[in-house]
Symmetry: C2
Subunit: 353 residues, 2 copies
């Protein structure tokens, strides 16, 4: 769908997320100015969506509504979602990517269900055993990428090596870094630290057969200082680390707000610094970092935070647009066939662009 | 040593830590006013220590120097330290606790070596398979405790249950909370989230046989919001979480400093708010939270951060004084014999107070 002359199409699960479908439509509205040529396939309850679109004429021009009879619920187990939500907005949106009707899909719905459906419908790339969730985050030095942020509770050393390859391509394309540095998150930087899994993965990345600038282990403090461009970890540790990071930022911001409100002197001072403090708050606004890609699938699948609003959702959609436009998956496949030579990788389809 | 009328004695590894032995002596000096009755056994190179003490007459009054012929190095593996550092300041300081010459020991040296030596010399309590590192941290709501912060890279469900029992007593004594709430760190709060290890531990804590206010799983964001008083996790996840937390605070503080320096307007504003901002910085000063207890041993062993200064070291020593004075280990043993009835626990020795 992304060939020259044809508009880029993104499929959206219009019913996923706490504030859906309103925030989905309002999110597209926020993007229209920056991406006038992108078209959207909206999957969800048609009467509801048509009613909402009447309020957003700019959005109505850019979307096609496709009716979905059901919705994946937040409490659905992945197995339930697979069996009972075949006609859901999430499932049909993923299938649009598989069929080549869309170059990528974005959903703010149930993560486990999205992962399970995306695996069944799109399948993992040749050379990849499991997809991982990969996002752009911010360190003291600037942006970096981290994976896996929660797709795989248990990971093997080989999974971590595959994540490193996918994360490296991600940083190259999304951050524009020519030769991104890669590190594995660990409890110390010495070679003998950590469990067998991280040690075996590090040994494989150190042996020089993969074209990756591997810097060894990084600790959480170094990660936040910006020691490497790509941080590789298992989904349990990655998810905990991400949520501790978010919780710490929230706590600090809260204490800062209290400090500025604690006396008339501080309130006066705040009048002078509020511009700079506002900029600082925006730097850490999770809505501006919303969107994790499920890397390793034959298709671009972006998970938005379930609790986000229109601004956050628009960030996730813009993230999917960028990934599709830059041909992330095609580049990962090329990298993988170089990294793990074996049976030739399947040719990239339109859906895998 | 802590019986009425006798002074409390703390053993100190005077040679461990980047700024040792100076920061050890200067650290005691900072404490003298608040704890005039506590006495210290200083283990290290006698000529060096005697020379230093000449500069601190207030400290000289409160300490006895015991010569140690060697030092555990930062790069020593635990096995090397056990075999080759039998006459080290760290080993002799731990032995002072075992012999009953001191009520607790503090070291800023090599964590792995400290753990190994403490296990060999003091042994784990009846009912405890592995010690854990336990510290007081700060959330949006106030202080809480977390363990394991890095002693055990791999933990079983039973280890996590034991950590919960020890952490609960810790919060009761150190935070003064009558009935502390306990949670297990996980990637979601739903019962089915996470790996088998956390699920089995949660099932055991939920079954009601342990007298613990167990609240189930907590995520990193809730932990930082102060959802529970005791956060239980394995040493790999705990260590990563702690360092991400520290790294995020450092990053935020750094950005805040830059914001205040970014224009004359902000510099003027800073003059108004600097008192409140200073208080905020102190709230997060890692030196004021320095010190992790190796819980589960027959003796009080406190690990100080290796890179800390005199103020940080004094916090760790004060932490050990509090633990010894309140009889933390005796209370844990009572709790354990109730939680895991079996062969009667060994009677608490002076060293286990």
């Amino acid at each position: 769908m992304s060939t020259a002359g044809q508009p880029l199409v993104i499929a959206l699960d219009a019913m996923g997320g706490d504030q859906a479908p309103d925030m989905v439509i309002a999110g597209i509205d926020l993007l229209r100015g920056r991406h006038p040529d992108v078209r959207f396939l909206l999957f969800g309850d048609e009467p509801t969506l048509t009613g909402l679109l009447a309020k957003y004429p700019r959005v109505a021009d850019a979307v096609t509504v496709r009716h979905a009879a059901s919705v994946v619920l937040g409490e659905d187990k992945p197995s339930t979602a697979l069996r009972q939500r075949r006609d859901s907005s999430m499932r049909l949106a993923i299938e649009a990517v598989h069929k080549g009707d869309a170059a990528g899909v974005v959903s703010a719905g149930n993560t486990g269900a999205l992962m399970a459906m995306a695996k069944v419908v799109l399948r993992t790339m040749a050379g990849i055993d499991r997809p991982a969730i990969c996002s752009k985050l911010v360190s003291q030095r600037g942006p970096y990428v981290m994976l896996d942020l929660g797709a795989n509770i248990e990971c093997s050393a080989e999974n971590l090596v595959q994540f490193a390859v996918m994360g490296e391509v991600f940083a190259r394309l999304l951050l524009g870094i020519e030769r991104p540095s890669v590190g594995i998150l660990n409890v110390g930087v010495e070679e003998l630290k950590g469990n067998e899994r991280v040690q075996a993965a590090a040994a494989r990345l150190r042996d020089g057969t993969l074209p990756i600038d591997f810097r060894g282990f990084v600790e959480g403090t170094e990660m936040m200082a910006g020691a490497v461009d790509v941080v590789v970890t298992d989904g349990f540790t990655g998810n905990v680390a991400l949520k501790v990071l978010e919780g710490t930022v929230k706590m600090y911001s809260q204490f800062l707000r209290q400090a500025f409100a604690s006396s008339w002197l501080n309130r006066v001072g705040y009048l002078f610094v509020r511009g700079a403090i506002g900029a600082l708050r925006r730097k850490f606004d999770p809505r501006l970092y919303n969107g994790g890609m499920l890397v390793g699938l034959n298709g671009i699948v972006v998970k938005s935070h379930g609790g986000t609003d229109a601004l956050g959702f628009s960030t996730a959609v813009e993230f999917a647009i960028g990934l599709a436009a830059q041909g992330y998956n095609r580049q990962v496949m090329e990298e993988l066939s170089r990294a793990f030579p074996g049976p030739p990788a399947k040719p990239a389809t339109a859906a895998g662009a």
